[in-house]
Symmetry: C2
Subunit: 465 residues, 2 copies
């Protein structure tokens, strides 16, 4: 049932082997022409696979107008490698061509001496812009916005505005959403190129623009900003400073990247890993270890409680050894049931489908699902104990009463686990903590202890331990 | 350390209470004007909260040009409610205004009699387009594309092309990426409005267009298509049929939705839940139960192996009861370690950061991380056993040899778990199965059994069980 859907037609894969042959044969004129058949991002990926000297040759052969974009797609390591290889004037041209957000991304990853060199090479305007952007806190809207947007005046006629875009648009990251500002850079309205093109020639920008502009503050969380853009299906979202002046825009492709990175962070947290900005292949063994060991240690120590509960009941266990065989099943099923509920709620919170105010509805829903699952699994575990453990495996210790004990504990454990699993993420959210931490590993640890307590409580009633 | 980043400025929240007041006071003229202050998607969300009669009044008060878009954002239940309330001619206007992909999405969720009525109302052209689109398989590129794109001829001059867009663009879902086709609808090139606007008036579309067009087939997986669009930062991706003729486009906002839905599916699978198209709040208790019980049952039965291993060693356990207390800690830490590795690899595969060909590099990296984590946790568990269990809790059965047994088992378990955790998703991918299924619940079940086998193997050597 889990077979992946067949892909009838494989998606486009760039054939960069041709490029490698041309670099190695030093056929640079042909290489330059062949670049035309590729997208910038694919050329960047290909450059990343070349040794330093070949990468430098290949990079210098790029058409001038492509160099900055290809550069912006490179891994920080490769960027650093190329920077040390090119001259100041080549580097200067690239820095001036880069969009500010890409330049800032790059500078944040480079060693201090390289950053110094680049800032020295940059023009005064670029340098001051970069310095301003470097000040926005990590993960803020300001840190992912770009300063290259198109702005218009409300008094322009439609043909004037189109003419203005045609003249100045080359430097903007997107021209499709234009912002209308007054002298003090306050946002007055927003107008899309589509609206401009579909408007009549005698209309003014002020007539056509939408004055109900949705914007975010530079200090707003970048994930919130990206979700807002996605929610409204915008191609760009304006970012304003504390005085409500327009300072930049977030474009849809950057929002996509933000959403992807934040989702990866959520998934990592759900797996008890401290999140990281780098991709797996770029993380060193030490970094991976550092991200993984804290939760492992914490959860390991927490398992002491479960161990203590087991120890407390050791004498009882010695009297009724058959019970031991069912401990893994009860703990695992409890953990899985709780994880299902918690992960569902965490994802719902992240997508905005669930709010804290839904807490009672969520708990009521989960309790009913838990009841169904609990009864079902209780019955199944009774059947399993009697059929598999007693009949097939011949474990004579598994009496009807033992099987009943297991079944009843199973039902109670599943119900408790789902209740805990759906509640904890909501409470975490309410307290201002990240709900993603309340996922399977933590829930499992809690449910393990609870399931054992339930097991012994039920066993002491039914079996008189 | 897990406190969420503070949001200095709350993002925009629409104040729809005003709208509710106006509907309830039946101030429809004022309502109509107030709509201007809101985005279509927010009006749709607000409509979803109204009772049927008020929703119908509010919907009919919408400016005509907004009705279709607001309608497309509604939940299927609300769409059905409104459809039964409006006249055939009102419904006809909406169907004709809807983009084909939205109309098809709607029809797929509606009951048969309502679908019949809508198809009867629709114009013959719309009806035939809808019927064609309904045939594309679920989760294919064809099922998410739209037919309303802008196409140009290579022979047009730049001003002619701009004029053409201004005349015909109102019906296209996006005008920003235009496709150049020949008489037989074969794709010849792609040109953006940006390139058109920045081009010189005496150039032709053929001069400026990019002939290296990246497209997908209608039967390509929708997730692959969305990732391709995201990879290249496109605003739209062309979709072609088996004969390579252009039949539609996928726009960036639809790609964002696809990526979000597919990620949710991955997360659900990782939590042992059968994925579902509906959001949590719209799923009934029975549907939630149906999605969750299969894996719970399967994993519960699989835990029999772990139970069998425990049973086999029951006599040994009775002789050295102190060992029992450490079973939960060993199993949990093993499960968590394996889950970290598997979830990391699953996400890496999903983002395209890891390929099957990286398998040896991944295993080598994971083994080193596993070695570090294993040694660290082994030492910590030795310290914990001696300090917490023996000294503080006064469990005299925990001798140095028992603590050593636990520590050595811990190290071996963590290493085994990480090796299993990183390998299984890669093998699943290779065999054409979805790697996401190889996440914590399944890994935990496997690692539980392995950790017990290791525990008893080590114990029999060190303690001579």
């Amino acid at each position: 049932m889990e077979q992946e859907k067949t892909t009838q037609t494989a998606p486009y894969v760039p054939e960069t082997d041709r490029l490698t042959e041309l670099v190695q044969a030093h056929k640079l004129r042909e290489l330059r022409e062949t670049y035309q058949d590729f997208q910038e991002v694919d050329i960047a990926e290909w450059l990343g696979t070349l040794p330093q000297d070949e990468a430098l040759v290949a990079f210098r052969t790029l058409p001038k107008e492509w160099a900055a974009e290809v550069f912006s797609y490179l891994d920080p390591d490769k960027q650093e490698e190329l920077i040390t290889g090119v001259t100041d004037s080549e580097m200067g041209a690239i820095v001036e061509e880069l969009y500010i957000d890409d330049a800032v991304d790059m500078l944040e990853e480079l060693p201090a001496n390289v950053v110094k060199r680049i800032l020295r090479i940059a023009s005064p305007e670029t340098r001051s812009l970069i310095n301003q952007f470097l000040k926005y806190p990590e993960n803020s809207a300001g840190s992912v916005m770009t300063a290259e947007y198109t702005h218009l005046k409300a008094s322009m006629t439609v043909p004037e505005a189109i003419e203005h875009i045609r003249r100045t648009g080359a430097d903007s990251e997107t021209i499709y959403t234009c912002y209308v500002t007054d002298q003090k850079r306050y946002l007055e309205g927003v107008i899309t190129v589509r609206e401009l093109l579909l408007a009549k020639d005698d209309q003014s920008v002020g007539d056509v623009m939408d004055t109900n502009v949705i914007s975010v503050n530079t200090l707003c969380d970048r994930e919130e900003a990206a979700k807002l853009l996605s929610h409204y299906g915008f191609l760009a979202l304006p970012v304003v400073d504390e005085e409500k002046r327009l300072v930049g825009i977030i474009t849809v492709d950057d929002a996509l990247t933000v959403i992807e990175e934040e989702t990866t962070e959520d998934i990592e947290k759900m797996a008890a890993i401290l999140p990281s900005d780098k991709s797996y292949m770029r993380l060193s063994v030490w970094e991976l270890w550092r991200n993984r060991i804290p939760w492992l240690l914490l959860l390991m120590i927490s398992a002491t409680f479960t161990g203590m509960i087991l120890t407390t009941f050791e004498n009882a266990l010695a009297a009724q050894v058959a019970l031991v065989a069912f401990i893994p099943m009860l703990m695992d099923t409890g953990g899985n049931s709780g994880a299902q509920a918690s992960v569902t709620v965490i994802r719902g919170l992240s997508l905005g489908e669930i709010e804290f105010s839904d807490i009672l509805r969520v708990i009521w829903k989960e309790l009913r699902v838990a009841g169904l699952c609990g009864l079902c699994l209780g019955a199944a575990s009774f059947a399993k104990a009697m059929l598999i453990d007693r009949l097939i495996l011949g474990n004579a210790g598994v009496t009807v009463l033992v099987a009943l004990t297991v079944a009843l504990t199973m039902t109670l454990t599943v119900m408790t686990a789902k209740a805990v699993g759906c509640t904890l993420p909501l409470i975490a959210k309410r307290l201002g903590f990240d709900p993603a931490v309340m996922a399977s590993p933590l829930i499992t640890t809690i449910v393990d202890a609870l399931s054992l307590l339930l097991y012994f409580a039920v066993a002491s009633r039914l079996l008189g331990l």
